[in-house]
């Protein structure tokens, strides 16, 4: 059922109360909760991070909006804490990373299928195959460094196989910039989609930048460095999709609508009753934010919010496995490259990017080396009973050990 955002007013800002205990609730269970519960938590932390990031940028450029931005931002800040603190402490940074890549793959796949603009759809599919490969590389790292199975986190919803190899994802900045949608003609879902994806990717970038140095193994440190660099390219790519001629208030309005849309999607699909209540509460909070910004939009820009927002929100994000679609995109598009703002066949790859890639990979590619000969197996690649009888088949351990 679609949500009528013009008439549903939610909870007003002055009634959005928190206290410290409320912010720190019992986390979800890494073992018992569904993988999509983690995906929702990760996505919503990304959405709130973007809300705060945008709000600060906007405040730096708009004196008149500083106080209203600060008021809404205070609530967003507390929402982000409450949501992100739902991640359990027994979930290691590498396990969380696997969750981040699963989120990137599944949500980008859903968004790409919902996207009516063929160019934007193409860009989402292009990026999705890269995050899909990251999942495989991090799974190899988890298996080979920690002896753990990434599928304990992804719970069979997402394939763990190579995508577009990370080693060829490195591009010159000239080939990461993309064309934006047109604010006057783009469908509302197009605007929401762009914000959802840029939020998710920016969060991944910031997370890897923060946790990368916590790893001791140089293999892990190099892999995080390499994939972090791609995440930066993804943020560049996705932020270009939004029309830069939207006004600051118009962008703020779209941010709030995206927050309502994503919390509402979580509410529709959540299987953990405790988290479902949180999503319900925050749908109401975000409706409150949205309506306060609508008032500013009317007062300051003298414009009707209906110019920018749809009367009802699009169909919620489904939060289900997109295996079939991802496989089809993988089969048909794995060899695509970017040249300028275009997505092109491999034989039209950009010389600038080829040179950049060769330079970055000159001492070897961490993502290739960590996954050399790697095939994911249930219970890790050591679990090769039947292959050699002793669980130490060819390619599983170093040559020295296997001799």
């Amino acid at each position: 059922m679609a949500l009528d955002i013009m008439n549903e007013r939610g909870v007003t800002l002055d009634k959005q109360d928190f206290d410290w205990k409320d912010l720190v609730q019992t986390p979800f269970s890494k073992l018992d909760d569904d993988a999509f519960t983690r995906v929702r938590v990760i996505l919503m932390n990304g959405i709130e991070s973007e809300a705060i990031r945008f709000s600060h940028a906007c405040a730096r450029m708009n004196k008149a909006l500083q106080l209203p931005l600060a008021r809404v931002r205070r609530a967003e800040q507390h929402q982000q804490i409450l949501v992100n603190w739902l991640n359990p402490p027994d979930q290691s940074p590498l396990e969380t990373t696997i969750g981040y890549e699963q989120t990137a793959v599944e949500i980008t796949a859903i968004v790409a299928q919902n996207e009516p603009d063929p160019y934007l759809k193409q860009v989402y599919e292009f990026g999705m195959l890269e995050d899909f490969d990251h999942l495989y590389r991090f799974a190899a790292l988890m298996d080979r460094v920690e002896g753990r199975d990434a599928n304990n986190i992804t719970q069979c919803y997402t394939d763990i196989i190579p995508g577009r190899p990370t080693s060829v994802e490195h591009r010159a900045p000239d080939d990461d910039v993309r064309e934006p949608y047109d604010r006057a003609s783009a469908a509302p879902i197009t605007k929401l989609n762009a914000l959802v994806i840029v939020s998710a990717e920016h969060q991944v970038h910031d997370y890897y930048a923060n946790v990368g140095p916590f790893f001791a193994d140089p293999v892990a440190r190099q892999l995080y460095a390499e994939i972090l660099s791609i995440e930066e390219q993804h943020v560049t790519q996705y932020e270009c999709l939004m029309d830069p001629f939207e006004s600051w208030l118009e962008k703020w309005l779209l941010h709030e609508a995206t927050e309502v849309y994503t919390y509402y999607s979580c509410l529709q699909t959540e299987t953990n009753p405790r988290l479902k209540r949180i999503w319900e509460r925050f749908v109401a909070y975000e409706l409150g934010h949205l309506h306060s910004v609508m008032e500013l939009f009317k007062r300051i820009e003298n414009r009707d919010p209906a110019e920018v927002l749809p009367a009802t929100l699009p169909e919620p994000i489904s939060f289900t496995s997109q295996r079939k679609y991802v496989r089809e995109v993988l089969r048909s598009q794995v060899d695509l490259r970017a040249n300028g703002t275009r997505i092109v066949p491999v034989n039209q790859d950009s010389d600038l990017s080829i040179r950049y890639r060769e330079r970055m990979n000159q001492a070897g590619s961490p993502s290739e080396r960590v996954a050399a000969g790697y095939k994911w197996r249930p219970g890790t690649e050591l679990n090769r009973l039947g292959a050699s009888g002793n669980g130490h088949g060819k390619g599983v351990v170093t040559k020295e050990v296997s001799r």
Partner: protein
């Protein structure tokens, strides 16, 4: 009040819960060729590239006091490397200090968990915690006596702190049970026991017999901790496993062992104190 026990529930981590998806996942991986040939030796090579640098975590500081310089010089004269002793003393001090805090977290769990046959009392846990603190204080005094700085984080102390990160995580997570926390404490006590034995050998070898004597008492106490923690874990685990006749028998044994273990350790400790008393008098 938290209940001990292992519940059967909806754990979703195993692959057999999703028979159709499992098949698809395996088929996909079987049909895929990795983008680079090879094996774990690539990882070994990457590690070697960094190992060749020879960089260390850090160092042991030079002694700050004249007394320390003299003690170090004396150790060096005897042909020893005083840095090793300083390093290991720092490690023990840090571990005992963290141990005191770990027991505080364990006590919080204990206070909020239903008791079981053979379980420790609050006094049992406070007793061990007090001894951990006494060991920390004793080590601090020894380090000062040898002219060292007890606030220094030595490389061995740093490594031990990194190794213990998981113990702190387990003990401080409100979702772990008392028994799960006790397992983490067992890891700490096993390390404690071994490390004190090592330290005694080291101080004797470095020509500090009086220090070694102090450490003997700490080792006896740590052995008592280990024995008691082992018995509590045995009693708790067997108790949780159920009321079957075999388990019941094992449980009785475990409770007996707890009592015997405690009695033995106490007797050992008392005997040592008596020996010390005799020595002092003489």
């Amino acid at each position: 009040m938290m209940k001990e026990g292992v519940a059967i529930g909806k754990n979703r981590t195993g692959i057999d819960l999703s028979p159709i998806d499992k098949q698809q996942l395996i088929e996909a991986t079987e049909a895929t060729i990795p983008s680079m040939e090879g094996d774990m030796s690539e990882i070994a090579d990457m590690r070697s590239e960094y190992l060749e640098n020879g960089e260390r975590l850090g160092s042991v500081p030079p002694p700050a006091s004249v007394k320390g310089i003299a003690a170090n010089a004396l150790d060096a004269l005897k042909g020893g490397n005083p840095a090793v002793l300083v390093d290991k003393l720092g490690e023990r001090l840090a571990f005992e200090r963290t141990g005191t805090r770990l027991y505080e977290a364990l006590i919080a769990k204990h206070q909020n968990t239903e008791s079981f046959p053979g379980a420790p009392t609050l006094e049992d846990l406070r007793h061990i915690q007090t001894e951990e603190l006494e060991h920390f204080e004793m080590l601090r005094d020894v380090i000062i006596q040898l002219g060292g700085d007890p606030t220094t984080v030595t490389p061995a102390a740093d490594v031990m702190a990194v190794s213990s990160l998981g113990l702190v995580q387990v003990l401080s997570d409100p979702r772990t049970t008392f028994m799960q926390s006790l397992e983490a404490i067992l890891t700490a006590e096993l390390v404690d026991s071994d490390s004190w034995a090592m330290l005694i050998r080291l101080t004797k070898a470095m020509g500090h017999p009086l220090v070694a004597q102090k450490f003997e008492k700490a080792l006896a106490e740590e052995e008592e901790h280990l024995s008691r923690v082992r018995s509590w874990i045995q009693a708790g685990t067997l108790g949780l496993a159920g009321p079957g006749p075999v388990v019941k028998e094992s449980l009785k044994e475990a409770v007996k062992e707890t009592i015997a273990g405690v009695a033995q350790s106490v007797a050992k400790s008392v005997a040592k104190d008596q020996v010390k008393g005799v020595k002092k008098k003489s």
